[in-house]
């Protein structure tokens, strides 16, 4: 199988980040079209294309844009979420570093659609190369009249400001990101009100992912029908998957949605590292339920197939795990990540993530008992399903519980009481 490159067609060209090169490959054509039509028409095209947000939740993009109220006197804001940080996910970084103009173009289209005259590019603070690449592209776009006042004489104004986060995974959650942009701690907000009604500076706001914005210019340029024919009926288009773990060629791959998971692993990624057998795959970032090697055989990379396997495409991060991997250790490290990144607002998350981490640490050190394993599962039930403001504690549960249930023998093998029982002498028959 081959990749289906739409967003990433020119990503490997050494000049892909330059404005002149981007223009030479039909760059900004989609924006020019958008500037010549009505906002409602742009939203209609994006709706018709079936594009679903690429940040993790998969919410239809056109529908999200249509929620912005039209006739209110407040300014409207558009934000690009470039705070990529889910363990396993590294796809957006490539788009930011190599194709920044594609993102800017998508943002101008989105801004026109919702009537926003100001936008922010919120990028994770560690991505220094991306920050430089993006700032350079923004400056170039201003100089060329693609940003700023009266873009290309269309009468539409749009200013774009780059804003660096400062190391908090939670700021990838849209309301935490908004708080961070307002100069606050990245604490998620209660919803409703949703950002579409009351977001940044309490004004109507749309937040979309880097890959979502990168897709929009192609839809405007080539049409909704063209796009909706790619992929599956409910998951149209291509998607970028970042593959890590035990494969020969880890990296970012753009494939048609609906492609079998094992084709991605075996064909594009060159199969398993050192030819070890496949043990499991986490198909959409650390927060989504793990698939066993057997389940992987029937899983396709689209929203429907993943739902049928009781997992998700999430942020497009495929973590491939080979035989011989210590799943107790990897699960502990995931839990440690969530404990570290919990913002601390809600008790089930603040206490739960830390507790789960500590219990897994105990188990991995051979000091745990079966009661600890049961306690993790009990805690998990209290950390999910709306007991917290945002889904970070649900994400921790997603990273821990399915692995414990599907690979229980590995966790049980590490328990102290099990090892102890095996060593206990059989009591002598006393007889009565």
């Amino acid at each position: 199988m081959a990749e289906m490159k739409i967003l990433t067609k020119f990503i490997d060209d050494p000049r892909s980040n330059e404005l002149e090169f981007y223009e030479s490959v039909h760059g900004y054509d989609g924006m020019k079209k958008a500037l010549s039509i009505a906002p409602e028409e742009i939203i209609e095209i994006v709706k018709k294309s079936g594009l679903r947000g690429r940040g993790g939740a998969g919410f239809p993009t056109g529908l999200k844009w249509s929620f912005i109220p039209k006739d209110i006197p407040k300014p409207k804001y558009l934000i690009c979420n470039a705070d990529e940080g889910e363990p396993g996910t590294f796809k957006d970084r490539k788009l930011i570093e190599n194709l920044p103009h594609q993102i800017i173009e998508g943002m101008v289209i989105g801004a026109k659609a919702i009537g926003a005259n100001k936008g922010f590019f919120y990028i994770r603070g560690e991505f220094n190369k991306g920050i430089d690449s993006m700032q350079k592209a923004i400056d170039e776009a201003y100089a060329k009249g693609y940003l700023g006042k009266n873009i290309l004489g269309s009468g539409f104004d749009f200013d774009l400001v780059l804003y660096a986060g400062a190391g908090a995974y939670i700021c990838g959650e849209e309301t935490a990101l908004i708080n961070s942009l307002e100069g606050r701690r990245g604490h998620p907000r209660l919803k409703p009100p949703f950002p579409a009604v009351s977001g940044l500076y309490r004004c109507p706001t749309v937040v979309n992912n880097v890959e979502t914005f990168s897709t929009v210019p192609h839809i405007l340029d080539k049409g909704a029908d063209w796009y909706s024919k790619i992929g599956t009926e409910k998951s149209p288009g291509t998607r970028l998957f970042s593959v890590s773990g035990h494969v020969k060629r880890p990296g970012v791959y753009e494939i048609e949605l609906g492609t079998p998971l094992l084709e991605l692993v075996n064909d594009l990624c060159g199969g398993m590292l050192d030819d070890v057998p496949l043990k499991a795959v986490i198909p959409g970032g650390s927060s989504v339920p793990i698939l066993t090697a057997e389940e992987c055989k029937t899983a396709n990379m689209d929203f429907e197939s993943m739902a049928a396997h009781k997992t998700m495409l999430g942020s497009g991060a495929v973590i491939v795990i080979g035989e011989g991997t210590d799943l107790v250790e990897t699960t502990y490290r995931f839990a440690r990540f969530y404990a570290h990144e919990s913002c601390g607002q809600c008790t089930p998350c603040r206490e739960g993530t830390h507790w789960v981490r500590d219990l897994l640490h105990k188990i991995k050190e051979g000091e745990g008992t079966s009661a600890d394993l049961d306690l993790i599962l009990s805690l998990a039930r209290n950390m999910e399903g709306g007991t917290t403001i945002c889904p970070l504690s649900d994400a921790c549960v997603g990273a821990v519980r399915p692995t414990i249930l599907k690979f229980k023998h590995e966790f049980e093998a590490r328990l102290k009481d099990k090892a102890g029982k095996e060593e206990e002498p059989i009591p002598a028959q006393t007889g009565v």
Binding site: E126, Y163, G167, S244, H246, F337
Partner: protein, 159 residues
């Protein structure tokens, strides 16, 4: 004596204050400027930042933000701040072994700074480079697909 921003940083702060509808948004980029100037953020610097942004922003608000985010160093670090990613994808590609290797090369434990103040080594959570593991961030740059040999070369170049 209270902290004094350089004239260059003051000019940048003035520009930032015009860029946002609410000047509170300047806290995060302002802290970055402070860190760029002295390598870390401290109380005096935060106080100066709060004063520069002006009422109603107080030191408490700047401090609350600085302590929430991990990229602001709350104490001085070595000239080269080595941050090794410890999350699972990196673990699966041997970050634990690399970590031990760096510790032994530098003669320090995780979280410590070498006695010549040149290197600080810390383990951090996901740096978003999972496909290029194991990896470290040293100051502003990522170093990926590391082996012991590559790491030795990098450390040698920085010494």
């Amino acid at each position: 004596m209270s902290y004094q921003f350089s004239s260059q940083s003051v000019a940048r702060l003035d520009k930032l204050l015009e860029m946002f509808p609410d000047k509170r948004s300047v806290i995060l980029p302002g802290l970055y400027l402070l860190q760029k100037e002295q390598g870390f953020v401290d109380r005096e610097g935060m106080e100066a930042l709060a004063d520069k942004i002006g009422s109603p922003i107080s030191l408490a608000q700047v401090y609350g933000v600085a302590t929430f985010y991990t990229l602001y160093n709350k104490k001085p670090v070595g000239k080269y701040h080595i941050q090794i990613c410890g999350t699972s994808s990196c673990y699966m590609r041997g970050n634990d072994k690399l970590e031990k290797h760096i510790c032994s090369r530098l003669g320090i434990e995780l979280g410590e700074t070498t006695s010549d103040k040149k290197f600080t080594l810390e383990e951090v959570e996901c740096l978003g480079a999972c496909g290029y593991a194991p990896m470290v961030q040293i100051n502003d740059a990522y170093y990926e697909n590391l082996t012991f040999e590559k790491m030795d070369e990098i450390l040698k170049d920085l010494t």
